[in-house]
Symmetry: C2
Subunit: 240 residues, 2 copies
DNA sequence: TCGGAAATTTGCGCGAGAGCAAAGAGCGCT
DNA sequence: AGCGCTCTTTGCTCTCGCGCAAATTTCCGA
């Protein structure tokens, strides 16, 4: 197995605050693994025997309930730490991570987590920050689900995806991996039917451009207006 | 200001893995503060200048959106670390913490967080675990909001509250602090009207016992059935 | 002890969006 | 090149639970 060059990862948050020699040492303990599109990095309920850093690609993290309903928890993009179940004292992964496109990740054995933590205290900070910002995102989602209509939630979800994994194209910003209406529905707590209807309507208004597993944001500004619930800013009557 | 006796806190998760001398040292840096019922420990948006350990009481953590809608993020009970914004690299508190009953907390200056982290590496683990289990809870809530009906969500919320802050009474398990229908609504993403209706119905069936800012679970088992969505297990027709 | 504010209960009507059904479109695989 | 599977679109109906309104109860402080 080839070792990973430090220059690829040196400026990721996880490696900030480490001397080059330490970075090399940390890298030497990791294996680099390729995950073809559609394959699982780990499965919900499996023993949490590794933690990972995504080098390249995008993962969809999904979770199924006892009753069998599935939800998309989040997407992981390059440079992010994931699968850190061990750090939260979980023995098993609470969700499944599937490659949305061909991806590459570094894997460390969970068993070395505590040792690494002691050896490189800055790891603790970066893990805390990773988990912390995930907590912020998740709480934001709870607020959205509590207080917003479906249309606003979908707008928020798309804007978040574009920010995290948007690729500029001539027509606007395209989500940089295949994503179905069903996926969006599972991110926003609605049905693929409703998402499809909403996107169709938006497409007619020139807000987005759709396609099979493909979404392009054409007018992020107007989407923001929708997302923030400035209700009817566009179709409000002149004299209320 | 009186110093806090180690015996009060020695077996809390936060102090596990520290030698008694270290525990004393850590305690010496903290101030003990009393928060009368209804007062705020910190406000959403304020500078995150302290982090806390709740010694006694219960706090309600709430968050308002840009549009002014309020939600209850969670309740904090005795022994829990909270207000650790600094640890997640936030400069301001993302929510407000209000004493639901008269409470007492230890406060450390945020500025010493990093120093303490270096000095007591086990702090990192306990903070990670605190934040991690909060993340688990919050994600569970997202799943609930995505996939469950209001009635199931309310059942889940009450069971979680009972587990975290339940007090055994003759009639069942009572939530150990004043909590209004409005509060439950803000935890479950519904309205106080709907919560009131649900609780009234449950009271007639002998599942719960209500009162002003008071909820007693009389039959946790049947509530569990409701929560897990075993739809109509009780009113299902003999021959479907 | 009494007055008033806050919390709770309950009725009624409506609308967002889920559920069901079926047709249409795009892509991969042989 | 063509077949078939998956993804998407769209129509229709029905229901859960929200919004509004008003009565009632409970507690706290003067």
């Amino acid at each position: 197995m080839a070792s990973v060059d430090r220059s690829l990862v040196a400026n990721l948050p996880m490696f900030a605050g480490l001397a080059p020699a330490e970075q090399d040492e940390l890298l030497r303990e990791a294996r680099s693994i390729r995950y073809p599109k559609g394959s699982a990095v780990f499965d919900q309920g499996a023993k949490a025997d590794h933690f990972y850093l995504l080098l390249h690609g995008h993962l969809r993290v999904e979770k199924v309930t006892l009753q069998g309903q599935q939800s998309v928890v989040r997407y992981v993009s390059g440079g992010e730490l994931f699968g850190v179940a061990q750090a939260m004292n979980l023995t098993h992964y609470p969700a499944t991570a599937v490659a949305a496109v061909d991806s590459i990740a570094l894997a460390w054995p969970s068993s070395s987590w505590n040792r690494l933590l002691t050896k490189y205290p800055s790891l603790a900070s970066s893990a805390l920050q990773t988990v912390g910002s995930r907590l912020q995102d998740t709480q934001a989602r709870v607020l959205e689900m509590s207080n917003e209509q479906v249309e606003q939630r979908v707008a928020h979800a798309l804007l978040r995806l574009a920010k995290q994994a948007g690729r500029k194209v001539d027509a606007g910003v395209e989500i940089d991996f295949p994503i179905s209406r069903q996926d969006v529905a599972e991110m926003t707590g609605t049905t693929l039917h409703t998402v499809s209807r909403i996107l169709s309507a938006w497409e007619q208004q020139g807000l987005v451009e759709g396609g099979r597993q493909r979404i392009v944001l054409r007018d992020a500004n107007r989407l923001h207006v929708l997302a923030e619930g400035d209700e009817g800013a566009l179709n409000r009557k002149p004299n209320p």
